[in-house]
């Protein structure tokens, strides 16, 4: 049977104990910094000075680095090759046969890699330290539609089950002689017998799940309560406002750095 789909790493840490919205604000700050700060090196500085300490505090640095490099490395290689060699004009650094490595291309590739690394690391840090259900509960408590929250969390959690079913259908159709490998035409022809049963069986499931959720009072009018207690430290609301002010300052700093 499939496990719940979540990157969440259960740890006893200061970061894990923070309110999900405080972590969301911190992630927003890191994301904005990574995307808004100019130049090739500032996003790396943000990674080293903000995200790595946050991951250390959350006891998830190893998992974060393990996953982040796997996502960022293919991107980094391709962007360094493409921008480094194909940069139009610029200062030559090194000649490799008919191609020349350009300094401006390398700087652009460094900046792009820094940004993608910051975005990926921010997402990973947040996912590793925050349970999706606590995030959704706290968002619902602040006015997010409970139907929307249910759809988001249930969809994420059910992904492994969907993958499992797709694999079963694929095996079943292959055992009946369906060709799913080979040329493009053959692959396209093979998609229909896989997609149709997958969609139809999922629709049946959705109907049954809708009935089951209804049977548990999902559309009961009135205020819903939460079984899990989401703790909020005394100063967390003030900290969140501080982070928002920090984000405004970051935008100002970014504009100022671009003008000098």
């Amino acid at each position: 049977m499939s496990e719940a789909f979540s990157l969440y790493a259960d740890r006893d840490s200061f970061i894990h104990r923070l309110h999900p919205l405080t972590k969301l604000a911190l992630a927003g700050f890191a994301l904005l910094g990574g995307l808004a700060l100019p130049g090739p090196w500032l996003s790396f500085a943000l990674l080293a000075l903000v995200l790595v300490p946050l991951a250390l505090l959350g006891k998830v640095l190893r998992q974060l680095l393990n996953s982040a490099w796997r996502v960022a490395l293919p991107f980094a290689i391709s962007v360094f090759l493409i921008q480094g060699f194909l940069w139009s004009g610029g200062t030559p650094v090194l000649g490799v046969g008919p191609l020349t490595l350009k300094q401006e291309g390398l700087l652009f590739a460094t900046a792009s890699t820094g940004r993608i690394l910051t975005v990926v690391s921010t997402f990973l840090w947040f996912a590793l330290t925050t349970r999706p259900d606590t995030l959704m509960t706290s968002l619902v408590q602040r006015g997010l539609s409970s139907n929307l929250a249910y759809i988001i969390v249930a969809t994420i959690q059910i992904i492994p089950r969907f993958q499992q079913r797709a694999a079963t259908i694929l095996d079943a159709q292959r055992s009946r002689g369906l060709e799913t490998q080979g040329g493009l035409r053959q692959r396209v022809r093979g998609i229909l017998p896989l997609v149709v049963p997958l969609i139809l069986s999922s629709l049946v499931d959705v109907e049954e799940r809708a009935l089951a959720v209804e049977a548990r009072g999902f559309n009961h009018p009135g205020r819903k309560t939460s079984f899990i207690e989401i703790n909020e430290g005394r100063w967390e609301a003030s900290i969140r406002w501080g982070i928002i002010l920090g984000m405004i300052a970051l935008i100002g700093l970014s504009i100022w750095l671009r003008t000098i």
């Binding site: 049977m1 499939s2 496990e3 719940a4 979540s6 969440y8 349970r131 259900d133 959704m136 249910y150 969390v153 249930a154 959690q157 059910i158 492994p160 089950r161 499931d205 049954e208 799940r209 009935l211 089951a212 959720v213 209804e214 049977a215 548990r216 009072g217 999902f218 559309n219 009961h220 009018p221 009135g222 205020r223 819903k224 309560t225 939460s226 079984f227 899990i228 207690e229």
Partner: protein, 283 residues
């Protein structure tokens, strides 16, 4: 507890009715099993009792259905959910899909009803104890076996304290151990909580052991209604596609060969079969 009066129902766009003039009365605390071949109208009857017909499935419904004094037709589904709990075949589809632990999954319905946290914790603890799943409390509900998941689904519905529990083939995807777990949990509920249970089930060996009453259906009609011994040994039902337990089959064959004790009713359970064949050997 459940009163069904002359109910006829047709799904939209279908030529004939799925239920034909059904009348049934189930008293409080009874374990009533509904058996019959596919397309007999068993699931349709379950949906009608739980209010999904006509609130979820449209179509033409005639007759009256009352559950614990509430008219199913005029009571909204979310109100009926407080009186009637419905369990489906596929345990996976009954898991909300949004909770990380079994404990939280069981509390899902209570959260929807706005139950205070302290009361939720108390009730979740009690229900897990009752259904025998306390050891699963901190497991992911998506990572359980079929039998465990079905018991979590039952506990989740029971947490809302329904007076009536309707189960639509709850053991169809379970192995023998999982089936026994579910049947035993239900039997315990009836004796501890005086809950009324209607279960649609194909596994007649289990029905024979656990049910108080059996209703046999075919082609949208009730063909027989009585104790497990009366209904499950009724030879006239075989031609309508209803099965019989392996013990009844063995006893019937023995009876045809003149080896079953004369005057002794055919058996439906293993224990009755053992007693019957012992008596046959003695004579």
């Amino acid at each position: 507890m459940i009163e069904i009066e002359k109910v006829t129902y047709s799904y939209p766009g279908t030529p004939g009715p799925a239920l034909k003039d059904i009348s049934l009365s189930v008293p409080e605390g009874q374990f009533c099993a509904i058996v019959g071949p596919n397309q007999a109208g068993k699931s349709t009857l379950a949906y009608a009792m739980a209010g999904y017909i006509p609130h979820f499935y449209q179509g033409r419904l005639q007759g009256e259905i009352t559950i614990a004094g509430q008219d199913v037709r005029s009571t909204p589904l979310h109100e009926l959910a407080l009186t009637v709990g419905l369990i489906f075949q596929n345990p996976f589809n009954q898991i909300s899909g949004t909770k990380f632990t079994v404990r939280e999954e069981i509390a899902f319905g209570l959260e929807n009803l706005g139950t205070p946290r302290g009361e939720m914790q108390k009730r979740v603890g009690e229900i897990m104890d009752l259904v025998g799943i306390t050891h699963l409390a901190d497991r992911s509900p998506l990572a359980l076996s079929g039998g465990q998941m079905q018991r979590v689904a039952i506990a989740s519905v029971l947490a809302m304290k329904p007076k009536v529990l309707i189960l639509d083939e709850p053991t169809s995807q379970l192995d023998p151990i999982g089936s026994r777990e579910v049947f035993s949990a239900i039997r315990a509920l009836i004796s501890d909580e005086r809950i009324t249970v209607v279960m649609i089930e194909h596994k007649l060996e289990w029905v024979a052991v656990f049910a108080d009453r059996v209703v046999a259906m075919a082609a949208g009609e009730v063909l027989a209604d009585g104790s497990p011994s009366e209904v499950l040994t009724d030879e006239s039902l075989l031609k309508h596609g209803l099965g019989e337990t392996r013990y009844t089959l063995a006893a019937r064959r023995a009876s045809q060969l003149g080896r079953w004790p004369r005057g002794r009713p055919l058996c439906v359970t293993l224990e009755e079969a053992v007693e019957g064949f012992k008596a046959a050997l003695r004579s």
